[in-house]
């Protein structure tokens, strides 16, 4: 779960990581209530979960209240990279003397948390890793339990950071590491960590929490996950992994690996996938019907490639679901079914009794789905 900037800032507050005071509003009307609390100029930042928000026009400045009103009005309900802005954060525009990048994430290879530090704050760290890797230091904390100040001092020394920033940098890094561990984060990032009037503070936050650990963090804010489209959310509630894509061929299967491979096949044969839809293992008839119904709500789908290799999943359940779905939805796009595995003889018979062909070979089925989409596109 990716947290909004302001949610991350709230976590920073709890861990004693300094940041400028801010106000959060979701309508222009609320501005009057905070009017007296503001010191101009201010920065107005759209709270949307997209990267490159600044370049996409999601960050504005205002030197007085009139400008602020205009900025808030401009940002609220605007779409930034497809996401609607529902809240904006207003904070004093500060005088940045120096900027650092500080991030903590997971090193899969080392199976350990990894700390990333650079003086080139404010920039895209992945970009910097390519262009000036010598400006970045990454290391695994000496003991996974906590990040010790000396580790930051060593890095700061190597990168030539000014001495006066060292104590605060070490302190903030230790706190960010504690947040990372205690809140089950996959990423905790301060970019930039800026020196303002001699004091280090976080001017932005990126925090991603491990979804699998959310159950033990009832204290965390709920997702407000605008990353997901309404259809994706509907699928999520039905425990179906669903990602909407740009193409026109719906792809459905059981298991992320096989669904990705199915998408790749569709592409290989010249088609464009409209979905990644994973029913998971052991999908029942009802769940499968629900999935197909959600997929069918997506605009412009020309064919559906349903690739079932039944391990835990029973092919007869899937077959029954397809029959039910097609009966309930006469205007549905053609479903090309590939069905093998557990109970595939029964499933195949159910489909045949209803006049539906079932492929054994997934590549042939994928090709067929592409062909159908191609034909129907012409109509």
């Amino acid at each position: 779960m990716k947290l909004h900037e302001y949610q991350g800032m709230d976590l920073f507050s709890k861990y004693g990581i300094p940041h400028p005071p801010y106000h959060l509003i979701s309508s222009v009307e609320e501005l009057v209530y905070i009017k007296n609390a503001l010191t101009f100029p201010v920065v107005v930042k759209a709270q949307v979960l997209v990267g490159g928000r600044g370049k996409a026009g999601g960050v504005l400045f205002a030197k007085d209240f009139d400008e602020l009103k205009k900025a808030v009005d401009e940002l609220l309900h605007k779409k930034i990279k497809g996401k609607t802005v529902r809240k904006v954060l207003i904070a004093p525009k500060v005088n940045v003397e120096r900027e650092y990048y500080l991030g903590i994430t997971l090193d899969r290879r080392a199976k350990a948390p990894v700390v990333i530090i650079s003086e080139a704050g404010g920039v895209d760290i992945e970009e910097l890793a390519k262009t000036a890797p010598e400006k970045i230091i990454t290391f695994h904390p000496y003991t996974t339990l906590e990040l010790m100040p000396f580790e930051i001092r060593e890095v700061a020394k190597k990168l030539g950071f000014p001495k006066e920033d060292m104590p605060a940098l070490a302190d903030i890094a230790a706190k960010l590491y504690r947040l990372f561990r205690e809140k089950d984060a996959l990423l905790a990032e301060i970019n930039p960590l800026a020196r303002v009037d001699g004091r280090l503070m976080a001017l932005d936050s990126v925090v991603i929490i491990d979804d699998n650990a959310l159950y033990r963090h009832p204290e965390l804010p709920s997702a407000e996950d605008e990353e997901n489209t309404p259809l994706e959310k509907e699928a999520e509630e039905a425990d179906i992994a669903f990602v909407e894509l740009d193409g026109d061929i719906g792809v459905v299967g059981c298991g992320a690996g096989i669904v990705m491979a199915s998408m790749d096949l569709i592409t290989y044969f010249g088609g464009k996938p409209a979905s990644f839809m994973d029913l998971g293992g052991g999908a029942t008839k009802d769940k499968t019907v629900k999935a197909l119904e959600i997929l069918n709500k997506k605009q412009g789908i020309k064919s559906i490639f349903m690739n079932i290799f039944g391990g835990i999943t029973k092919c007869d359940e899937i077959a029954k679901a397809i029959v039910e779905f097609l009966k309930k939805t006469p205007d549905a796009p053609p479903v090309v079914v590939r069905l093998i595995g557990t109970n595939d003889d029964i499933g195949r018979k159910i489909l045949a009794d209803n006049g539906i062909k079932a492929y054994m070979n997934m590549e042939k089925a994928a090709k067929k789905a592409v062909e159908i989409a191609y034909e129907r596109r012409g109509q």
Binding site: D211, A256, G257, D264
Partner: protein, 290 residues
């Protein structure tokens, strides 16, 4: 033969009385797996498909010789179960469960390293030595005995490809589902090391995914030390950058973990790359005939 397990491997099932654990216990027993005991706290004294159930792993190891444990308990309880197995000296722990918190996985792997124990998973289908034993949830009938070792990050893709390979007449020595999570126990390199020493395995198929660097590491190892033919297939070529594709591990987050980078690395290491699944058995036959 094959790697990690054999027909004599004795197995404990943690979470044996659960719906899922009990179901797969039956399937594994049917396959021939030597399941000698099960553990579910509070259910000690019961039997599941004839397998005695204990409250603690300690009791189970006191009453049986146990080589390996398979964990079916729900995500929040996996750390407890895995540490219990490790503390009681079990040297191979297969974690089937998905949705295990990353911090818990980190902790398990740290302890396993100290104990010199091997963990497979979490979020994996397990291991199968066709015709001998299976410690996992894969459909046994799609795996035929043979000489191809299979390593996969994805479960369903492993079934699919193993089925293709088995149908082609080549067959499988051992297939290991390594798991789709960011933090997993056994890595591709460690598994390859074992295949290197297994006389039964004559070639290895790597089933990779977008995200992570395990295939790049594997390619480095193959280049420097691995002497058997390798065929790789990668899923997720068309996955959009930054979007989650179900597997937590499958996030494209940098240049090095793209499919292109992985394919290039495998090719540089002397391995072959299949672009669609049906190419895999064809390439395998080609490299094995050499």
């Amino acid at each position: 033969m094959g790697i990690l397990v054999n027909k004599n491997t004795t197995v404990l099932i943690q979470g044996i009385t659960g719906r899922y654990g009990s179901y797969h216990t039956r399937l594994m027993l049917d396959y021939g797996t030597k399941i000698v005991a099960g553990v579910t706290p509070g259910k000690g004294g019961l039997e599941v498909h004839g397998v005695p159930v204990y409250d603690t792993v300690e009791e189970a190891v006191n009453n049986h010789d146990i080589d390996a444990s398979i964990i079916f308990v729900p995500g929040p309880f996996v750390k407890d179960a895995a540490l219990e197995a490790l503390k009681n000296g079990i040297k191979l722990v297969v974690i089937i469960t998905e949705h295990v918190p990353v911090n818990d996985a980190l902790h398990i792997m740290e302890v396993a390293r100290r104990q010199c124990a091997t963990v497979i998973g979490p979020n994996c289908p397990g291991i199968i030595n066709p015709g001998e034993t299976k410690l996992g949830i894969m459909p046994g009938h799609v795996f035929k005995k043979g000489k191809v070792g299979i390593l996969s990050r994805s479960g369903t893709l492993m079934y699919e490809i193993s089925s293709l390979i088995s149908d082609s007449g080549l067959g499988v020595s051992t297939a290991v589902g390594l798991g789709g999570d960011p933090i997993i126990g056994m890595t591709m390199v460690e598994a390859l090391r074992r295949f290197q020493c297994d006389p039964e395995t004559e070639a290895v198929v790597i089933l990779g995914e977008i995200g992570g660097s395990s295939e790049i590491d594997a390619a480095q190892y193959i280049k420097s030390e691995f002497s058997k033919p390798v065929v790789a297939y990668f899923a997720g070529r068309t996955a959009p950058k930054g979007k989650r594709m179900g597997h937590a591990g499958a996030i494209v987050s940098g240049e090095a973990d793209t499919i292109e980078a992985k394919e290039k690395a495998i090719k540089n290491a002397g391995g072959r790359v299949a672009h669609i699944p049906s190419e895999i058995p064809l390439i395998l036959k080609e490299v094995l005939e050499k």
